[in-house]
Amino acid sequence: MLTDTKSSRGPKPPMRVRLVRGARGWWRWLTSMRTALMLLFLLALAAVPGSLLPQRTLSQSAVAQYFADNPALAPFLDRLGLFDVFAAPWFAAIYLLLFISLIGCLVPRTWGHIRSMRAEPPRAPTRLSRLPRHAELDTGLGPEQALDVAEEELRVANYRVLRRDGALSAEKGLLKESGNIVFHLALLALLISLAVGKLWGYEGSVLVQEGQGFCNTFQQYDTYSAGPLIGGGDLTPLCVDLEDFQARYEPDLTPASFTGDISYSRVPGGPDEQATIGINSPLRVDGARLYLTGRGFAPIFSVTLQDGRTFTELSAPFLPTDSATMLSEGVLKLPDLGAGRDQLALQGVFVPTAHDLGGGLLTSVDPRPLDPAVAIVVYAGTVGLDSGIPQNVFTLDQDRIARGQLERVGAGNLRPGESLDLPDGTSITFTGFKEFAALQVNRDPGQLAVLISSLAMLAGLMTTLLVRRRRVFVRPGDSVLEIGGLAPGGSADPAEFEQVVKRIRTALAEDRPDRREP
């Protein structure tokens, strides 16, 4: 790209001139190849902590765990933005500088290239023997005739040829620079498309049990993130019901497929359509995409109080902690068992295929629900759902247990149909389980443009790497033809030049007067 040139320094020029010179110097520095290379390295280096430290965008809980493990270091790293590297200001600073450097490099280069495409090939140097490649051919023809032959051959070999002052200038491979420029322009287009996607895109996730559903609004998602320019009303209208979820396994328990049969409608209350979604096969509706991103089990309990009142079909999704055996952990919080009464919370594990490790410890040996069981601990007291502080639905607040606001009142392992009786006469029955799916709706309006830009980048890249620039000059001497070759901006390939020389030699031999008439 551009190379450094030393700026000349006169003796004490006026302030304005010095400012302009300073600005120009900065601009030159920013758009130099050396700076671009340094910025590229900085960008690569800056991305490293994004893969080694937990990132909020990937896993909030991993970040929380890091804070718990490194209480002294974590807040400091957090202030530097190291838990959200790719949204950090310093990361943005690097790629914006690179962006500006790229534009500053690209604009003059594009103009230069357009000019050189229109310009004629440069004049043949006086001494062709000084060029990196050089050959002399015996012609036995007049200078004009010999040049005619050479010109013809060069044109056949796709050279742009110009005859000037009795010599030939030929050029080939301008496409190399075109490819280079296309690559970098496409890179800019890619960055802009990415920005469009970030500004107008959104993503929402929700856990849905079999038989339940949700609609595409921010209120109904467990978690969502949205670009700053998208409003709640801009979401694609879509309502989804999960009718059935199926997990299939190979004989060796390798997961074979996870599919969800869904019905969905594009307008509220509109006609239902059926679809099956699964890993690698999302549903695409009007620019929004619906994914099946995970799954798990939700154990079902019923609670009978001492006064005989019964609550049935109480369930909560338990999150798998081991995807191979589907051992899952979770909490079922029961805050509404009646006024003036203790609230209950059931914390424990669900195992789809139980194996007793002894001493009441359960583990799972198969991801399929062949012999389901739960191991639960029951707490009574105030769960704290009405305290106004947002709670993680998958864990219990350990502080409440420590402060005695939640008291352990019972524990046990249950198979379907079995009950656990609490000291106050309450009975908790494990009645069965449902499967749930983690569903995600995404929309990224920049996506297609990103794909097109990256394919254009690839095309430009291959062009610029595969095409070679070459110049060949031909000057006739006394019944000889002098040929010189060079490759601007690279080393001339000997074989390539040899081939051109060979073509011309062969053509000359055919045209020799002594050969023409046998």
Binding site: S257, S323, D444
Partner: protein
């Protein structure tokens, strides 16, 4: 089922034989290096002549090399014989190596790129194939054979010890048409970068040797002597990156297309994606550096060596230690 088990078992046996073949080739290459001390001077002389003739008429490197091999006065007949034998065994090893992948594919009825064992085996295969291609095109590059076969042998032993996985069906997440496209191109790009990185490392050794006026003592002198000219090494390294970079770029694009249908977004800064980005930038920097005055030569070669380190870290540490979406686990 027993057919599949038989094929998988045969693949395991061939894997061991492949390692054996490469280690024999490495010994033969080492012998070629060790017993060619007098021939080296002749080779040096010839390579200068060769460079001179390249400048004037562009004669190919082939004939000069032939002279060197046949030259009875060079005293390196044993060395050139050893080198030829080593090339033959390496070629045999590569054929066996390819058969390992083929048989594992047949045994499991799928592309043999479903786990780390198969991926690492494929990358090593592409690296060796890249070396063989270069060595048959530019015979002087045969002399670097030891520096390819030795790391590949050690690498495959470690892969066999620590990454071995029974041939089996793919997990649900990998059952996609994009697996073939994405992982094949990743392996090819990676293999090309691997060979290129070795060539650049050797270029650094050789160019220091040439700077010392071909008179360096000790290890540098002994190795530097035997290596092809720095220009040959640099060109071959560059050629491998030119081959690998567009393929790697395509692999990243294919991965993004697959991620769009598998994970809900085409790019999400998953650790593997982050390192693909880092690797891509390092190789882009190498290509820019090699085309820039003041960065050509050693600086560019250092970038390529850094690329090699990044790629190895990317393959081993990120896949095996850091938990991410590329951990080849199930959907959770």
């Amino acid at each position: 089922m027993s057919d599949a088990a038989g094929l998988a078992e045969l693949a395991d046996t061939l894997f061991t034989v492949t390692i054996l073949a490469y280690s024999v080739a490495a010994i033969a290459f080492a012998a070629a290096l060790a017993f060619a001390s007098r021939g080296a001077t002749a080779g040096e002389h010839l390579s200068e002549r060769q460079r001179a003739s390249e400048q004037s008429s562009g004669a190919s490197a082939e004939p000069t090399n032939q002279i060197q091999v046949l030259d009875p006065t060079s005293g390196s007949a044993f060395s050139s014989r050893a080198s030829q034998v080593a090339m033959g065994i390496t070629l045999l090893g590569a054929v066996l190596h390819g058969s390992v992948l083929l048989l594992r594919g047949l045994a499991a009825q799928r592309v043999p790129l479903g786990n780390m064992f198969e991926l690492a085996t494929a990358v090593a295969f592409v690296g060796v194939a890249g070396f063989l291609y270069l060595a048959f095109r530019t015979p002087r590059l045969r002399e670097i054979g030891l520096f390819v076969t030795l790391p590949v042998t050690v690498g495959l032993v470690l892969v066999g010890l620590f990454l071995y996985a029974e041939s089996g069906p793919l997990v649900a997440a990998l059952r996609s048409r994009w697996l073939v496209v994405h992982v094949t191109t990743v392996s090819i790009g990676f293999g090309a970068f691997l060979t290129s990185g070795i060539l650049s490392a050797l270029f650094l050794v050789r160019s220091r040797f040439e700077e010392a006026g071909h008179a360096a003592a000790g290890m540098l002198g002994r190795i530097g002597h035997r290596l092809p000219s720095s220009q040959t090494l640099d060109r071959a390294a560059h050629r491998m990156v030119i081959f690998g970079f567009p393929i790697f770029t395509f692999a990243v694009i294919a991965g993004a297309v697959w991620a769009e249908s598998a994970w809900g977004r085409f790019w999400g800064w998953d650790p593997k994606e982050t390192w693909a980005f880092i690797s891509w930038i390092v190789y882009a920097a190498y290509l820019h550096a090699r085309a820039t005055a003041g960065w050509k030569g050693r600086a560019a070669a250092w970038i390529n060596v850094a690329g090699l380190v990044v790629m190895l870290f990317n393959l081993l540490f990120i896949n095996l230690v850091i938990a991410g979406l590329h951990s080849y686990a199930g959907i959770n």
